[in-house]
Structure formats: structure tokens, C-alpha cells
């Protein structure tokens, strides 16, 4: 794989079956194990750089103000949000769907790409999984607070109580609770399991007693023995298997919040796959949004290579195409169904009071901007990639807003029509969650290895004794499986 050109010719001569297309290495510049450990552990072990403190104080302040807004909303009432008839769901549920969608990329990278043996995932999976967790935390805030009396939120849990009542399992909002809490639990387990070998590395390198103790506790006594690795890999495989259906199920369930209702533009069978594709689309954009700066700041260009960015851009293009198809299909079905309400709702989407949300958010950001990724030059140009990712981030938020508020503000009876105007609490709660999300991510890169060291080492040529050998050995094992 990483053999010099002469070796390739030699092996071609030896066996045509083994002559493979020379693949670009996943780690550039022939970096070795030691370099990876030093570079990634170094981020955690060095004192925090000044930019980190500057960024963290800004994002932390925004997060605190967001929490203040939540406290103000809880103590005053949901009236501090701009919600009212007929728009009973607005920024809160938009933000919920936006954040929960972002999480999906992390799970896709960590679970599905793992099962499909996409070895390039190793460079990005750790931070993508962390991003998933933080996004789900931000997401959980909104429906939790939206219930109005947050101290009653425990009604959502099926616990015996002296009210003699039980959650209504026919409600898709209830399914949401289970989908999201399962998702969060499995994601935490998956992320933590993957962290154990790296925590052991940090423990072994730790210089102070406190660090030794903490990393020691969380490394669960990892020694890197054969037995350790066997159990670890089995656990990781099982968790990947558990997470895989979640990638598809969680956002499907979120889409049921809408699809099981009778509102035009909500009552659609296309919603589950459309939402899942949109979630992965938006999630990959957010992964790149976070990783491109991190890669530049920590000089990780050899680990997160142009190849990785290229592949993620292709996934954005693919899922963006799904989403564009779904948008088109919605319009087609509105016309083809002959349903006057459905047709009106979609005309209203394009030409109604929220017309510019559709034209900029859905059309420009989600449908048109990813088309740049058809071109290799665009996929390899960091600025273009970043521009498209920012478009997609914004576009996916707008898409959810259009679905939710667009569906609600034109009720069946024109006398009940209304418009939604966000209050400062609405706006700052959302900005606050952006602050919470970035603060948590900053803390993560400060205190934990942001790249899965042990996994990246596995994809190095040195990890495969046979592939590295210049002559004699086969890159394919005797039983025909490719070595990993």
C-alpha cells in the first residue's frame, strides 16, 4: 500500500491478482507511531495556548448568557419566547432538530464507516463522536424547556408515581424521548470505549499525581495486552452494531413528530429518509466546520489529509443530493396529489412571508452550494469547502425552520393565520447553545486526545507487518481477508 513505485512493479510481476491501485496513504509524510503520540498527546499535555483562553472566554460567556436566558424563560414562563397561536413550535423545535441532526454524522462515522471498514474514519471519528455528544446535549435542552414546566419533565419517564398516570406511548413526542436518550447513552458508551487505549497512553505519559490518578481511573486498568485488545475490539464491534440502527432510527423518530400529524407539508411519508439524509448532510458540514480550524491550529495536516476532506465533501454532495431530491419530490407530490391545501402550502413556502428563507436557506445553501463538490478542485480547496459547510450549516437550520414554522403559520382557517417573530430570549437561547457547543468542544480538545491515536496507528503501514515487508509476504492473509 505504501510501497515505493519499484515495489509496486515487482509485486505486479509476481501476481496480477495482488496488483492494486496504489492508494494515497491515510497518514502523510511517513509519520510513525511516536510522532502521532507526541503530536496528539502534546495538545493535551502542553499548557493551554493563549488563543484557547480567548476563545473559551468568549464561548463560555455566550454559553452563560444562554443559560441565563433559559433560567429567565423557566422562571418567567414560555411567554418569553415568541410562540403563540398558530405558531406553537418555532425556534425551540427548529433548534432541537438542528442539533440532533448534527449528531448523526458522528455516529455514521464511528459506526457505519467502521462496519464498512472505511479506514479513513480513524482520523476524524473521535472528534466527530464528541461533537455528536455535545450536539445531543444542546438538542435536549430545547424540548426539555419547551414543556413549559420543566419540573414536570419527569412525566416523560415511565416511573411509578402517586399520580397513577403513565406516559402516552402513542405520542411521537414520547418516542423522541426514548430515541434521543438511547442515542445519547449508546454514543457515550461508544465514545468512551474508543477512548480507553488513548487514556492509557495519557496515563502512562502523565507527569503529575492527579493526572496519573484521573487518567488511571478512566483508563480502566488498560495494559494493551492481547487479552485487553481482544475484549476491546469485540466491545467496539458490538457497540458499532448497536449504533448503526440508531443512525437511521433517531432522526426517523424525530421526523415522526411531524409526519404523524395531519398538517400539510408535515404529513408526508418521505420524511424519515429525508430527515436522516438531511441530518448526515448537516452533520458532516459541522464536522468539517470544527475540524478544518483544529487541523490548522494543531498542524494535523498529516493526519487529516486532503483525502479525508475530499471524502467528507463527497458525502456532503451525496446526502445533499438526497435532500434536493426530497425537496423536489415534496413539490411534485403537492402538485400531483391535487390537494388544494398541500399545493397552497408549497406555494406559500416559495412565495409566502418566509419566501427568502426558502430561496436562500433551502435553495441556495442546501441545494446549490454543495454542487460545487462535483469538482475536485473545490473539494480540495479549504476555503471553498469551508464556505459550503457554512452554507449547509445555515441552510439546514433554515430548512427546519421552514418545515416547522412554514407548516404552522398558515392554518386551515385564514382568520387563524399568524406570523412568528422571535424575541431576544429565543435568539439568545439559540446563540447560547452555540456557545455551549463550542465551549464543550474546546474543553474536549483541551483535555482529551482529539484524534484516536491508537486507531490512527493501526492504519499506518508499520502496523501491518506483511504489507511493510518489501518482498515475499502477501498483503492479503491466507484466509483471503484483507489485513486491517
Amino acid at each position: 500500500m505504501n510501497a515505493a513505485p519499484t515495489d509496486v512493479i515487482e509485486s505486479e510481476a509476481a501476481s496480477t491478482a495482488e496488483s492494486r491501485i496504489k492508494r494515497a496513504p491515510l497518514v502523510l509524510n511517513k509519520r510513525n507511531f511516536s510522532w502521532i503520540t507526541e503530536r496528539i498527546s502534546g495538545v493535551v499535555e502542553q499548557p493551554a495556548p493563549r488563543w484557547w483562553w480567548v476563545c473559551f472566554s468568549i464561548t463560555g460567556s455566550i454559553a452563560m448568557f444562554g443559560l441565563f436566558c433559559l433560567g429567565y424563560q423557566i422562571s418567567t414562563g414560555v411567554g418569553t419566547w415568541g410562540l403563540n397561536h398558530p405558531v406553537g413550535w418555532a425556534w425551540d423545535i427548529t433548534n432541537f432538530v438542528f442539533w440532533i441532526g448534527i449528531g448523526h454524522a458522528g455516529t455514521l462515522i464511528s459506526a457505519i464507516l467502521y462496519l464498512l471498514r472505511q479506514r479513513w474514519r480513524t482520523s476524524i471519528n473521535r472528534s466527530a463522536e464528541a461533537m455528536t455528544l455535545f450536539a445531543v446535549m444542546c438538542a435536549a435542552i430545547f424540548p426539555g424547556v419547551h414543556v413549559g414546566r420543566v419540573w414536570m419533565a419527569w412525566y416523560l419517564a415511565p416511573v411509578w408515581n402517586n399520580y397513577g398516570i403513565w406516559p402516552n406511548f402513542r405520542s411521537p413526542l414520547m418516542w423522541d424521548v426514548f430515541a434521543v436518550s438511547t442515542y445519547f447513552t449508546v454514543s457515550v458508551l461508544f465514545w468512551y470505549t474508543g477512548l480507553i487505549p488513548d487514556l492509557a497512553t495519557l496515563r502512562d505519559r502523565a507527569t503529575t499525581k492527579i493526572k496519573k490518578f484521573l487518567f488511571g481511573v478512566f483508563a480502566c486498568g488498560w495494559r494493551g495486552s492481547n487479552r485487553n485488545w481482544r475484549h476491546y475490539e469485540m466491545a467496539y464491534l458490538l457497540l458499532a452494531g448497536l449504533s448503526t440502527p440508531l443512525v437511521l432510527s433517531v432522526h426517523s423518530v424525530v421526523s415522526f413528530d411531524f409526519a404523524t400529524s395531519i398538517l400539510p407539508t408535515w404529513h408526508t411519508t418521505i420524511f424519515p429518509p429525508y430527515f436522516v439524509a438531511g441530518a448526515i448532510f448537516g452533520g458532516f458540514a459541522m464536522v468539517l466546520t470544527l475540524l478544518i480550524p483544529a487541523r490548522a491550529i494543531f498542524k494535523l495536516h498529516d493526519i487529516i489529509t486532503p483525502q479525508h476532506i475530499d471524502k467528507m465533501a463527497k458525502i456532503i454532495l451525496l446526502t445533499g443530493s438526497f435532500v434536493s431530491y426530497a425537496y423536489t419530490m415534496e413539490f411534485f407530490v403537492a402538485w400531483y396529489s391535487g390537494n388544494a391545501y398541500e399545493r397552497f402550502a408549497f406555494w406559500n413556502r416559495v412565495l409566502g412571508p418566509y419566501w427568502w428563507y426558502w430561496w436562500t436557506g433551502m435553495l441556495f445553501c442546501n441545494v446549490l452550494s454543495p454542487q460545487l463538490f462535483w469538482f475536485r478542485w473545490c473539494r480540495r480547496n479549504i476555503l471553498v469547502v469551508y464556505f459550503v459547510c457554512m452554507c449547509v450549516n445555515a441552510g439546514m437550520w433554515f430548512e427546519r425552520f421552514i418545515i416547522i414554522v412554514g407548516g404552522l403559520h398558515r392554518d386551515f382557517i385564514p382568520s387563524a393565520w399568524g406570523i412568528f417573530i422571535p424575541t431576544w430570549v429565543d435568539i439568545w437561547t439559540f446563540i447560547g447553545t452555540l456557545g455551549i457547543f463550542t465551549s464543550l468542544f474546546l474543553l474536549f480538545i483541551r483535555f482529551l486526545p482529539m484524534i484516536a491515536m491508537s486507531e490512527v496507528k493501526i492504519v499506518l503501514p508499520e502496523a501491518d507487518a506483511h504489507a511493510a515487508s518489501p518482498n515475499g509476504h502477501h498483503p492479503v492473509a491466507a484466509d483471503g481477508r484483507e489485513r486491517t
Binding site: 411509578w160 402517586n162 399520580y163 398516570i165
Partner: protein, 241 residues
């Protein structure tokens, strides 16, 4: 790396897990027992300004509940009697009893006696006494054997689950409409022949209940439920309006 953790740490996760499970179970059990109205409300027996003995008035003297709680059949709220009601008798009977001094004081000044409120329904719950006592629910079902209480105390938890227990299965509590204010009534007091003649029996009954020796509460309740078409709502808005 040297062994940072001593050998006994190997057992620590297991010990922590066991301790965690025990603590969680203990907390659940304690909450279950101590933090529900079965514990927090039942048995509450405040000292009243006048120690009104229900047992003497009802059981010994044979007064009806409705002599004092006169609106219970017609109003949502069952009233606590005013001083005038007490003085109907106590201007003649026991008129020098020192325990009744607050009553006489109130009679003179016109200032009501400040009884301590026991069965206080929270403001987000609507409860209608008339709807219940006219439809086969006795005072006893919610207030217990008040006719034997020297000082009134709370007998039932009055939690929502407790309300729903009856709303879901009213047949366990319904009784003949002439026995609502007879707090000593027992299902065994019912004479099956008379009962069936008056109220009939459920359509599903296979034998003639009039020939039975006794009717159980369930049989009585089932009959009355069908006879009076009782279908208590369990919709939230029934009580939370």
C-alpha cells in the same frame, strides 16, 4: 509505569456497583414510602380551636352528616358549618362547657371560628362533592370512618393515583343511594332480594342474585354502575380544568 493503584482497587468497581445499586434501591424505596401522600398526608390530625368530637355527634347522638355539612348534596364544596349551626343546639345544650368558649365568643363577636383545613384540594384540581354523593359514593370512601373519630384526621392519601383507583374501577366503591351517609354500611348489610328488586342485576349475571345469601361489594358496585350508567372520566380535563 509503576503500579499506581494498589491491588485492592481491582475490587473497587464491583464494590461501587453493588453499593450504587443498594443506594439506588434504598432511595427508591424510601421515596416510595416516605415521600408519597400515603405517608405525608394520612394520619394528619391537627388540633382544632374546638375539639369537635364527630363520634359523639354522629354515632352517639345520631346526627346526619348533612345537618352541618348542608351543601354537600347540592354544591361542589362541602361546607364547614358556621357558628350559628353549632349554636342551634349549644345555646341550650352544654351551654356552659368551657371547651365551647370559642364558639360562644364567635357567636358574640360574629367572627368565624378558624377551623384548621384538613382535606385541602390543590387549586388546579376541581372536585365536586355533589357529583359524587348523588352517584353512590359515600363520605366514607374519601374521609374514612369520621363517625368514630374523636378528633378528625385524614384517612385516605387523596393522591391522584388514589382518585384514579375509583375512577377506573368505581364498582369497588359504589353503594346504594340510601346508604351514602351511613358510614358504618357494609356490603353484608344488603339483603339480596330487596337489592335486586330495587336495582336489578347486571346483564352479564348468569344466576339470579336475589337468591344469593350475600352480595359482594363488587356485585353491588357492578349492578349500580350499570343501573346508573356510571362511567367516570379519566381524561385530564375532568379534574384539571
Amino acid at each position: 509505569m509503576a503500579n499506581f493503584f494498589p491491588r485492592w482497587c481491582n475490587w473497587l468497581p464491583l464494590q461501587m456497583a453493588v453499593a450504587g445499586i443498594l443506594i439506588a434501591c434504598g432511595l427508591t424505596a424510601a421515596t416510595w414510602y416516605y415521600v408519597t401522600p400515603k405517608y405525608t398526608k394520612v394520619g394528619y390530625q391537627p388540633i382544632q380551636p374546638v375539639p369537635f368530637p364527630h363520634d359523639i355527634h354522629v354515632t352517639q347522638l345520631g346526627m346526619d352528616c348533612r345537618y352541618c355539612h348542608s351543601f354537600v348534596e347540592v354544591a361542589a364544596q362541602s361546607n364547614v358549618p358556621n357558628t350559628q349551626t353549632c349554636m342551634n343546639c349549644h345555646s341550650q345544650v352544654q351551654k356552659d362547657n368551657p371547651k365551647l368558649e370559642p364558639v360562644r365568643e364567635s357567636w358574640k363577636t360574629g367572627k368565624p371560628i378558624e377551623w384548621v383545613w384538613l382535606h385541602r384540594t390543590v387549586d388546579y384540581v376541581f372536585y365536586n362533592h355533589a357529583a359524587h354523593v348523588n352517584r353512590g359514593i359515600s363520605c366514607f370512601s374519601c374521609h374514612g370512618p369520621v363517625n368514630h373519630m374523636a378528633t378528625v384526621s385524614i384517612a385516605e392519601p387523596h393522591s391522584m393515583a388514589w382518585c384514579l383507583e375509583c375512577h377506573r374501577h368505581p364498582e369497588n366503591f359504589l353503594r346504594p343511594d340510601d346508604q351514602i351517609f351511613n358510614l358504618d354500611w357494609k356490603p353484608d348489610d344488603v339483603k339480596p332480594a330487596e337489592f335486586v328488586a330495587k336495582y336489578g342485576q347486571p346483564k352479564s349475571a348468569t344466576e339470579d342474585w336475589a337468591k344469593k345469601k350475600h352480595l359482594t361489594q363488587h356485585e353491588i358496585g357492578q349492578t349500580l354502575k350499570e343501573r346508573w350508567d356510571i362511567a367516570p372520566s379519566t381524561n385530564c380535563q375532568t379534574c384539571h380544568r
